[in-house]
Symmetry: C2
Subunit: 324 residues, 2 copies
């Protein structure tokens, strides 16, 4: 059973659980509730497991802390919200030294400070491997909340940055440590180990009524765009795939396909948006002025289901399935 | 390093992380923030790890789900709050069948329904053993929030129910399955596997201005009362230790000390409160009328530090340290 199939079954079981004030439940980047009329709170949770998402040999404790929080903050950004606080559930094996744990909290705290997110407590327990489950609460004005189900045929599909660098960094970390000193290899490693959640961009895009759907590219463009399409009852065509320069350079060295990394790699934590076509040019100009980077048009929302490339070739969702 | 010592060091590192709206951070049953002036939100997280907190052989999936949510709801109750929603981070080993996972959600959902707590989404990932990290958000009027630092010398220390049954159930589950059909053994097993968080009692006690401090007995009376005393800068004397009947009966069969189970056992999830002495009798009468059970006086808050028994014997904190 795939993750999405299992989640669909779980969702069916939770449908009738008391949720008068829950506006979005299982299935978006974050769940949404309504603490008061014009305010929405969002909550998201994400777990990192040693041996699945990281190894203590390939990543420092500070990087593990950073990455775990970055993934959650990215989900908050993808709703248009700003983070308020995080909780930390930490499982520690007996061979894990207090210094490692404190360094993990240092990594968490540094990113939390920049994102103005408080660390609000947690739970520490024994576990056979390091397990780090973070939950982040965010807040957003009701009118600025973005979900993944608002895309409409004709919308421009756009990204806050190019993709594939994180996947290239994974390749350097696990298979080609000799490339770690190469500038492209080092850039890819940084993208993989300490990704930057697009918090300011998410709030800015959330505030535009021309942005109709938003998601973060945590599981790969092919998977995450398919989720937007499925939720919105539409399809999409990818016309231009923006590949990170570091991903192109590393791919050339290891004879890999950088387009595939950009399409399926995941964990770049860029924001993927569907924008009303007539507003795109103006919005992209304002985005560039605000952030000094381009809002990259990658394709269009279409009638009907499924993803295709510009040449008509269908794209199967091939990103990260957490249970595969 | 003990859990409390490690938490103290973590806390020191997080002190300066942006937290203008965080009223209580690392160190109480739940963290507290202020979504609006007269309202407080609380958040708590708690993880269950297979092989540490449960085994799939000794506990059904539904019981694992129930227990994990019960522990979190109990923390919300201990702040005087009512639960709003829960998130679920779930790590699954490859040998874990979808049916087991769905049964776990059924256990979660049944308790969530009764507690009027929505299940608001989550994260599913691979892990070497089953890991279940839950986070629950609750809400409470600012004036009804109870912390652990308000106990004053002279206060009555009271419990919402007797202790030791969960520890007795653990003994039946792990060592004496032959007692599972015995009425006392069965009652103890139920207390261990499907503990009932004291949600209504917590909100009721939270609404009384005579209740000065509240905590739940998740880690054992000796440890949890010591936490109240440390946070409040006081000591306490335990005059009457209320031992659950099922704990006495099982202890007699296995030649264990039921008073020790009641003092150090933990996971009974009764609420422990410090109550203004002059108000205790009236409050206890109202509690009994409301809930059909006694609010049990167990001792007094004293000047100075530390816990003692009525005979003057000091009580070292000997409950559950999650890292021991």
């Amino acid at each position: 059973m795939t993750e999405d199939a299992l989640i669909a079954q779980i969702r069916a079981r939770l449908d009738d659980v008391a949720a008068e004030r829950l506006l979005v439940g299982v299935g978006d980047d974050a769940a949404v509730w309504q603490p008061r009329r014009n305010q929405r709170s969002v909550i998201t949770t994400d777990a990192l497991v040693e041996g699945v998402h990281f190894t203590r040999a390939a990543m420092t404790a500070g990087e593990v802390g950073h990455r775990a929080l970055a993934a959650n903050l990215s989900d908050v950004a993808a709703m248009g919200a700003r983070p308020v606080l995080a909780t930390v559930a930490l499982g520690l094996p007996p061979d894990c030294e207090p210094d490692w744990v404190l360094a993990l909290y240092d990594g968490l705290a540094a990113l939390a400070r920049r994102g103005r997110c408080a660390i609000a407590g947690g739970d520490i327990t024994r576990a056979p491997v390091v397990v780090l489950a973070l939950t982040v609460v965010g807040e957003v004005r009701a009118s600025n909340l973005k979900r993944r189900d608002g895309a409409r045929p004709g919308d421009v599909v756009a990204l806050t940055g190019p993709l594939g660098a994180s996947r290239a960094g994974l390749c350097v970390a696990l298979e080609r440590t000799d490339l770690a000193d190469d500038p492209a290899g080092a850039a890819a490693l940084t993208a993989y180990r300490t990704p930057e959640p697009r918090l300011r961009e998410g709030r800015w895009l959330g505030a535009s009524r021309h942005v109709r759907a938003m998601i973060d590219t945590s599981d790969g463009l092919s998977t995450d765009l398919a989720r937007v399409c499925l939720a919105s009852g539409v399809g999409a065509i990818i016309e231009t795939l923006p590949v990170a320069a570091s991903a192109r350079a590393v791919a050339a060295r290891v004879d890999a396909d950088p387009e595939r990394w950009a399409l399926d790699g995941g964990e770049d934590f860029e924001l993927l948006v569907a924008i009303e076509r007539r507003a795109f040019r103006h919005l992209a100009a304002r985005f560039a002025a605000q952030f000094g980077r381009e809002l990259l048009a990658v394709g269009s929302i279409t009638e009907g289901a499924g993803l295709r490339l510009a040449n008509g070739e269908p794209i199967p969702p091939a990103g990260w399935d957490h249970l595969r």
